[in-house]
């Protein structure tokens, strides 16, 4: 299970850093009174939910069985 775990953690680190970079870009350049800010929050919320779901699914997957099979 250790190899899939390392790969998954590396994927998450890269993914979260990428999202953070995009979010930083938005925060820096968006106009203060822009009326579409809520769309960005919906994206971030959905991404957070799916990161949690993927983490739960990762630990529910029987990796040892799959690898030995």
């Amino acid at each position: 299970m250790i190899v899939p775990l390392i790969v998954y953690i590396l994927f998450l680190i890269f993914y979260i850093l990428f999202i953070a970079a995009i979010f930083w870009q938005i925060q820096k350049y968006v106009l203060p009174q822009d009326k579409y800010r809520w769309v960005t929050n919906i994206f971030l919320g959905a991404i957070a939910v799916f990161i949690i779901i993927s983490a739960l699914l990762f630990f529910l997957t029987p990796w040892n069985e799959i690898i030995s099979f």
Binding site: Q25, Y29, F43
Partner: protein
């Protein structure tokens, strides 16, 4: 970051028409439904790998969400700002590359509206081409309510000259 000059205020900020992003989001929705189809197939034929397939579907959804977010940023940060002194054109090229150009309202010579096709006529959007005193002309692409925007810009130009 936008820095306004003293006594300068934003009159209007223009994004492209929502139909531009709606087309891309339809593609994203189709890609997401592919994950649902994949899971249904796996549940029926390979129940042993259901947990693994569900995990990879979640990863797939994360990647598609990232693509949708990138489409959104490209749409959202492409903006034209009309102030009482100038027009600023901020064009997002790719994810982290931007091109910002601006010109004074006093340099505007001519404004042309173009409704390029049937869809644009139905959904009321179009291109606004602004000819300035220099050789360069600026185009606001897929702007919603182009007639109204043109009138606002012309009003600003008139006020700026008085």
């Amino acid at each position: 970051m936008l820095h306004l000059k003293p006594e300068e205020k934003i009159i209007l900020s223009i994004h492209r028409h929502w139909l531009v992003i709606a087309g891309k989001m339809t593609f994203i929705a189709a890609m997401l439904s592919a994950a649902a189809v994949f899971l249904t197939v796996v549940t029926g034929y390979l129940p042993t790998y259901l947990a693994l397939a569900t995990f990879f579907s979640a990863i797939y959804v994360l990647i598609i969400l990232l693509a949708a977010f990138i489409f959104w940023v490209d749409f959202y940060l492409d903006i034209w700002i009309v102030t009482n002194k100038r027009i600023i054109d901020i064009e997002q090229k790719g994810l982290f590359r931007r091109e910002i150009s601006e010109f004074e309202l006093s340099r505007i010579q001519d404004i042309t509206i173009e409704i390029p096709n049937f869809t644009a006529a139905i959904f009321k959007f179009g291109n606004i081409r602004i000819q300035t005193a220099g050789t360069q002309s600026f185009t606001i692409k897929d702007a919603p309510r182009p007639e109204q925007i043109k009138n606002i810009i012309l009003e600003c130009v008139k006020n700026n000259r008085n």
